[in-house]
Symmetry: C2
Subunit: 478 residues, 2 copies
């Protein structure tokens, strides 16, 4: 679906590219950083996702004749520029994290180093992909953390922000930790487990609930999970389910369990559990759904709800309480007349909005047990000698310092495209999920807390900090 | 983009269809209603959108060989069922409102009357389309109402929930009242105006802001709108802009204006207005952006901000404070052994979740000035004799009654598909926007209030009300 989106860009990208073309500076090499300023849901971490989809997007960039005709009709561009666009091809470098990597505010997660006109064109679509998929992967991780090892299933397609959001949201949800999805196309395209039994309409279709359950059990005797809240959970649903389970058992089948989709899930699940156990179905599972998210799951668990697996819809697929990541794409450097990269900065009245200038990299520092201790944003030509102690300092409260000894480092970004060629191999979705899970395990628990997590340290190297401060000071003097 | 989404459905639709197929009831005729339970942002109305996209979706329904292979691999379905799916084609009827129609909670906006297996398959994708586009059209209408006639532009692609949400969100935003979008592909596909000038990166690329502005003015002398907040709005941005405007004027061009994208928009816009006026640019426009929505625009206008047009991004394209409409698809009737439609109901502990049974229609009652006074949900075979007075009653507080005399009625839903054939003609996007605008004009202002609007009356006919109450009472006895 992320193919042929060449025209999915903001008009100002094209007016700027045309401007650079006219000034003959369009081939200048520019460095742009993709980063976000806050973690999803103001949590303690963010799981990056969408890099694989960016690859498909970049690979298929091409203006069609009808695209160029349309652009001509806008009366903004001359023929030489449209002719130039006809041959558009991405020839630059992109460095990026792997999908499933845990990253933090202000760290570049993707860096484009490319001729200015190319780097500019791709901003908008790339942000829309990475912003959305990172949002949902992280939201899913939060929901799965709250479920503490219970199965979580993604059920949100009907409430997604359109079909594609439902489809790629399902992929991101699995990467974030969901065991599967109700979304059949996602199952097919991404090779992830699909789940689903029946809806209320199945029960309504029959004259009685018991008939409906019997018919379902007859067709799926070894896969019998019954939705028991169409009329009344305790007065009819669980009673009819147990009747049908007894019939299944008599024929040598083992029922799977029941699903609750409304009402007080704590009370109902406990009552249902009791009735299932009394009837000898200790193994039967209780699945719950109905506007769940990490906060409600946490509360239900604290109240002692007896729920084995969780179907999560609207609030996961839209990240309902935080529906946009807000990732940005900021110019960090441009080649000068000698072809050297010159750092660039954008000043703002809001100090957090001042970007980190220059072509950069991100280093993660691990202790000897493999736990991540801090990240360091550095200029690309800097190097850490891990045989020596390393002192980090807070970029705002510079008196806050920390010394690392016996540590190892990892470079977070790696080449994705070099000279326009894709230089990685895609992983399977379940491999990305396993990797995201290892990433989570490398983080201390205090960063995974759902509310008020501890803030993970992201510091700047001395060299980058000095560069930034000098540039701010000199711009302020202008 | 909404093509070939046959597999974009929940797995339970397929397990249920297989169940009906096995029980040989799959050809029974079912009636399902699409409706929502609350207006977008808990406002006073909702603008329906996405019906045209549903048409594309329905028309292209077809299982491919690889789809069927994948379904076989799930070990849930037998070969006769997969063979049956191979010939799947929608042959039913769909009744729907027109895109751009104002509708209210609990009213069917789309009714499917089709063989059960067909009606079931299309639920999920259809909901994801209509839920999203209706959400954004309505959010846009709210934002445009707040702007009170000022131009509103949709700028949200980079923050949308993926590329497709950005694209179709832009279409919905225009239908809801936006004058245009930054989204070039939306401009091309939907024939709507596109807008955009330059970003902060343009200014950063040059050694000074003045150079950047001069270069821009040189290339777009008659389309010169300058972004003045890259460094400092009042110390440099507006000064440099006026310098360049003076240079443009000397060459006989008329500058368009300036854009603000950060800071205190009320204060800055008033200061900038003053400086523009002092310099003789009374006609130059001030455009503002930066996390705007209907609430902030209302506040800025009340504070006396001097802003002529509004660029609205994240909070429109995601409907940030209300990111999912929550429209549902409920079984309302199924054919009995004689082929007659038998009404169906789903009981819930939550009275608002009990659906209206039967094959229904929605009537809007207008006074003699063409203002909408109330809606009435009726059974499909009911008829209103407009030569006689009409008494409506509240379905919950039945003593609340209202008598209409000298009124006219309009049937809100009309055929979209009959026997699987599409029976309408699509309108242009700007025609849909004009229609939505006429719809808004037919509503009293109290329903358009952004917060705490008056609740528009949606009543049930006597016949429907009686049917519903009888069915609830009889289910309760079970």
């Amino acid at each position: 679906m992320f193919k042929n989106l060449t025209m999915l860009t903001d008009l100002y990208q094209l007016t700027m590219i045309n401007g650079y073309f006219k000034k003959n500076t369009h081939e200048d090499i520019a460095v742009f950083d993709v980063f976000f300023r806050k973690n999803v849901c103001e949590g303690g971490y963010t799981i990056t996702c969408g890099i694989d989809e960016v690859v498909d997007y970049i690979k298929s960039l091409k203006f069609s004749d009808s695209d160029l005709e349309y652009l001509k009709s806008l009366d903004l561009f001359e023929d030489d520029f449209l002719k130039f666009l006809k041959d558009f091809k991405f020839t630059g470098d992109i460095y990026a994290v792997e999908d499933g990597t845990i990253m933090f505010p202000n760290e570049p997660i993707l860096v484009v180093k490319a001729p200015l006109y190319q780097a500019q064109l791709i901003e908008t679509a790339m942000l829309s992909i990475v912003n959305f998929m990172t949002l949902i992967a992280t939201k899913s991780s939060r929901v799965c953390n709250a479920a503490k090892g219970d199965a979580v299933l993604e059920f949100g397609l009907r409430r997604a922000q359109g079909p594609e959001a439902g489809l790629y949201g399902a992929k991101a949800a699995v990467i974030g930790g969901c065991l599967g999805t109700s979304n059949v196309l996602a199952g097919k395209l991404f090779d992830v487990p699909v789940a689903g039994t029946h809806a209320h309409s199945w029960v309504q279709k029959f004259d009685t609930e018991l008939e409906a359950f019997r018919a379902y059990a007859d067709i799926y005797p070894d896969n019998c999970l019954l939705l028991i809240d169409t009329y009344n959970v305790l007065d009819s649903g669980i009673k009819n389910a147990i009747t049908v389970f007894d019939e299944l058992k008599a024929k040598g089948h083992k029922p799977v369990g029941v699903r609750l989709d409304s009402g007080d899930l704590t009370y109902l699940s406990r009552e249902v559990r009791k009735k299932l156990d009394e009837a000898g179905y200790n193994d039967a599972k209780i699945t719950a759904s109905n506007d769940l998210d990490e906060y409600t799951i946490t509360a239900l668990k604290q109240e002692g709800a007896s729920i084995d697996s969780w179907g999560v819809g609207t609030k996961l697929i839209t990240s309902y309480d935080y529906p946009s990541l807000g990732g940005v794409y900021k110019l960090a450097a441009v080649s000068d007349v000698n072809g050297n990269l010159e750092p660039k900065i954008k000043i703002s009245e809001n100090p957090e909005k001042i970007n980190n200038p220059g072509f950069k990299k991100v280093i993660r520092i691990y202790n000897s047990f493999g736990k991540a201790e801090a990240d360091l944003i550095m200029l690309n030509d800097e190097y850490i000698d891990t045989t020596k102690p390393l002192e980090l300092f807070d970029p705002v409260y510079t008196w806050k310092r920390k010394l690392f000894e016996n540590y190892s480092v990892r470079e977070m970004l790696s080449p994705l495209f070099i000279n326009g060629e894709y230089v990685r191999t895609k992983k399977k979705v379940y491999e990305i999920r396993d990797y995201a899970n290892r990433e989570l395990k490398s983080m201390w628990d205090q960063y995974k807390r759902i509310k008020n997590p501890h803030v993970y340290k992201v510091d700047l190297s001395y060299k980058l900090w000095n560069l930034k401060n000098d540039m701010v000071a000199s711009k302020k003097k202008n």
